[in-house]
């Protein structure tokens, strides 16, 4: 009964406002689509189809949910133009790549879905089995925006499932299978199991300890207290040998590989405490320590798990980006282009690549002429002309007109993949850096052992009966519980903070490296510049600008776009109709004719060929432009030179300021580019980067060399880049930062990914790194002073068991408090 309610209400209420809103998505309905008298109104056929689908499956409750959750408007569901685009989903090759057979009858696949925005979406998507019979289970993961679908192989086709999802407005994208996810899930489960057991042990041991302490002040029989002590000992040992085993194993590994590690002092403290506790339990006298030990194990495990989760969250976001199948491409079948998946393309297939599309494979052009953007491979920002017989490489972009190509190599055989292999090599050669915290851990162990030995020796000399007790108490009190929590807590707070600003950090240790200023190498194209031209200067007559811009709108050449943008920024959009005919000369320029008008825009040769004479005054201007490493573009009106435009790479706004701020915080900034040296120099000049640090004409291998050489000169070498040609350098650098829209290889190579454009996030990152390191140091100072005082008092013999038991958790709590508050004060500070 409730079914018709929302559909009746909505249009009636909207009529009063004289605006009809779409029954499905609540957007206003265009006048042409209003159906008079109908209760349901739709803004597009996509919404209509989605509504029908939901309605016929008896899932109208969805609309009420949308209202309850207060979702303002759903995304507009446009009709999918290629209705056959999901046909490929049924191919065996597709399933092999993305799917996962569960058993003989059931298959499973995971899709990344667009447009999940509220709880009602979860509800609707998980009701998919009601809409499409044959689907068994749909399970949505909100954080990752993925849906895992299981269906009966014979009952329904995958293309039908995908189509239904897209009709509902959730475009499904297949993602590659990955074992990382499963491994991570297993690790998460293992860690949770350990935490659960450690928590139970810690909780119960604390209760027992409370009973024992009360027993010290009031009467408790010896038998009773011994019962509690034995129970505590049993729980403590269980906690040590089950969840606490990771620390013991870590310590054994640390000894075997001779790398000091935080696990070593922890394991030492745990072992000594447990042995002393067990001995005292058996003797029936003395402190048993097990309450502190099991709490310690629990807290340490929680700290590690928090850091594990934060890192995974960042890694997940980036990983999904590069596991997404790049795109569909258009394959020529029987003379007609058909959309298909890049993964299914075979050598010798013929593909159609339209202007603006990426070439997905290595191939040879068999039809058409175009200009290609090969910057992803070469770093060169200028377009390269290509015609029939020329090779085109995977990852390059077609910029001018449609071409057809014959596939030569796909997948791992492409040049692109070969460069990606370089990445792995570079990361193998990278020196490992021992973390500051771990080095401290090494010193710490030595210091504690020395103190314990001295204490033992001194007390053996003074009073033999208490010597062993004193030394053991010292080892327990000095156990680096807070010390071990200090780094993971501070880092996980920082990772969360960074993720909020769209900075994805895959490992915590880079934050510590960024704190020591060194050398930053920036890639030019994509990082400093946007890979397009801009007008830097306009010499000459201004009065024809409007007309020139109007003519240039008819061309898609980068120079034309730059001029149009320049004029429109200066004087707004102007349109005139003085021009009848526009002709474009490949590689030269553009020519426009109208009544009493003859306009030429292009290079010197275009003007000379059309009989325009170039005076020495103009030649001087052109020379000056060339001298500044910019490119001149000539404009002639009715046979005489009217203006000369200086063109250069378009530099992202704010870049100059960001670079100056980096330099002022002690970094040296340089440019590494595959682009021509002259162009790199020009960009460096405009950004005031030292000309000695602006290197151009570099191959991917050269970039790796430069980065590796500077590793020996500077404490930290940061590489910022986006292209495949940067990815090897990204992985060779001590910290690699991949920027917005980067190629998938660079995402995989770099431990940091910036989801926002420009250099601002890098400044943000440096700030986060600085505050994190401050927090870590504060944590260390706090916990070290606890340990120092504790150990000293224990050595003198001042510490009684009660004080020791209180001191240990308090030091951990201090560290937790410092980590969390440091994060908060910085968050408010950073907000402008």
């Amino acid at each position: 009964m409730s079914v018709a309610e929302p559909t009746n209400d909505t249009p009636a209420e909207m009529v009063q406002d004289r605006v009809l809103s779409c029954t499905h998505c609540r957007l206003p309905v265009p006048v042409g689509l209003i159906e008079p008298g109908a209760t349901e109104q739709f803004c597009c056929s996509g919404c209509k189809m989605a509504f029908r689908l939901i309605h016929s499956s008896g899932l109208e409750a969805y609309y009420r949910m949308v209202e309850t959750t207060g979702t303002s408007s759903l995304t507009r569901r446009e009709e999918e133009k290629l209705s056959n685009r999901f046909d490929d989903f049924d191919q065996p090759a597709f399933f092999d790549r993305f799917g996962n057979p569960v058993d003989e009858e059931i298959d499973e696949i995971t899709f990344l879905l667009d447009g999940i925005h509220c709880a009602a979406c979860i509800w609707l998507i998980e009701k998919l089995p009601q809409i499409v019979p044959g689907i068994l289970v749909v399970k949505l993961n909100w954080a990752r925006q993925t849906a895992k679908i299981r269906w009966k192989r014979d009952a329904v086709k995958l293309s039908k499932i995908a189509q239904t999802l897209s009709h509902l407005g959730y475009m499904p994208h297949p993602i590659h299978r990955s074992t990382i996810e499963e491994r991570r899930q297993n690790e998460n489960r293992r860690q949770l199991t350990r935490i659960g057991i450690a928590a139970a042990a810690a909780g119960n041991n604390m209760l027992i300890a409370a009973a024992l302490y009360f027993g010290m002040f009031s009467y408790m029989s010896v038998g009773m207290s011994q019962l509690f002590r034995v129970a505590s000992c049993a729980i403590g040992l269980a906690s040590l040998f089950w969840p606490g085993r990771v620390f013991l194993q870590g310590a054994v590994n640390a000894i075997r590989t001779r790398t000091p590690h935080m696990d070593l002092p922890i394991a030492l403290g745990l072992t000594v405490g447990s042995i002393a506790g067990t001995v005292n339990t058996i003797r029936g006298t003395g402190e048993i320590y097990f309450d502190s030990l099991s709490v310690l194990i629990f807290l340490l495990l929680v700290g590690r798990w928090i850091q594990f989760r934060q890192q995974n969250r960042a890694a997940d976001a980036v990983e999904l980006l590069y596991r997404l199948t790049p795109q569909t491409t258009r394959k020529i079948v029987d003379g007609r282009p058909v959309a298909t998946f890049v993964d299914l393309v075979q050598p010798a297939d013929i593909l159609e690549i339209r202007a603006g599309d990426l070439v997905p494979v290595d191939a040879v052009i068999v039809g058409g002429t175009t200009e290609m953007d090969e910057s992803i491979l070469s770093g060169e920002s200028r377009l390269v002309g290509k015609s029939v017989g020329d090779e085109v490489m995977a990852g390059t972009k077609n910029c001018r007109s449609t071409i057809t190509i014959r596939v030569v190599a796909t997948g791992r055989d492409t040049r692109l993949s070969k460069i990606v292999d370089l990445v792995e090599q570079a990361s193998l050669e990278k020196p490992t850096i021992v973390q500051w915290a771990n080095r401290m851990g090494g010193f710490f162990v030595v210091a504690v052992i020395v103190m314990a030995v001295v204490t033992l020796a001194v007390w053996l000399w003074i009073d033999v009966s208490v010597a062993i007790d004193r030394a053991v108490a010292l080892l327990i009190v000095a156990c680096p519980c807070a010390l071990a929590l200090a780094t993971p807590l501070a880092i996980s707070v920082a990772l969360g903070k960074a993720a909020k600003r769209k900075i994805m950090i895959k490992g915590g240790d880079v934050l510590q490296q960024l704190n020591r200023p060194g050398m930053i190498w920036l890639d030019k194209t994509g990082t400093l510049t946007e890979g397009k031209l801009e007008v830097v200067d306009w010499y000459g007559d201004n009065s024809w600008k409007a007309l020139i811009s109007d003519v240039e709108t008819k061309s898609s050449h980068p120079v034309a776009k730059a001029i149009v943008e320049f004029v429109e920024n200066a004087s707004g959009r102007v349109s005139s109709s003085l021009v009848d005919q526009v002709t474009e000369y490949e590689g030269q320029g553009i020519c426009a004719n109208g009544p009493g008008l003859d306009l030429l825009i292009g290079n010197e040769s275009l003007l000379l060929e059309n009989g325009v004479s170039i005076g020495s005054r103009h030649q001087q201007v052109a020379d000056r432009i060339l001298g500044a490493n910019l490119a001149p573009c000539w404009i002639a009106v009715n046979g005489s030179v009217n203006a000369i435009v200086a063109l250069g790479d378009h530099i992202r706004p704010d870049t100059k300021l960001a670079i100056q701020q980096l330099i002022s915080t002690g970094w040296r900034v340089g440019v590494l580019s595959g682009d021509h040296e002259r162009i790199v120099r020009q960009v460096a000049d405009r950004l005031e980067i030292e000309s000695g640090l602006a290197l151009g004409g570099l191959s991917p291998e050269d970039k790796v060399n430069v980065v590796q050489n500077s590793l020996s000169e500077y404490p930290t070498v940061v590489m910022v880049g986006d292209g495949v040609n940067d990815s090897a350098a990204l992985s060779a650098a001590s910290v690699g930062i991949a920027v917005h829209n980067g190629a998938e290889a660079s995402l995989a190579a770099a431990p940091i990914y910036l989801a926002d454009e420009g250099l601002r996030p890098i400044l943000e990152l440096m700030r986060i790194s600085k505050s994190t390191n401050r927090t870590i140091r504060m944590n260390f100072a706090a916990s070290l002073s606890y340990n120092l005082f504790g150990a000293t008092f224990a050595a003198i013999g001042w510490i009684n068991p009660l004080v020791a038991a209180i001191l240990m958790p308090i030091s951990s709590l201090t560290v937790v408090a410092i980590s969390l508050t440091a994060g908060n004060t910085n968050r408010t500070k950073a907000k402008p």
Partner: protein, 64 residues
Amino acid sequence: MSVLYVALPVALFLAVIAVIAFVMQVRTGQLDDLETPPRRILFDDVERRSREPGPGHVDEEAKP
């Protein structure tokens, strides 16, 4: 006070049961995704004809 001789083992036994329950939860994957379920719970299936278990209750069968 001698009741403690019984109470302590009983308490520990209960703790062991809780730990076993928790480990089973983890093993069946109920704690893998901590962000979707709090959103899923918002709606109950009142107008449904048959009360089949909602998708939220489907555990991931452990891989063989």
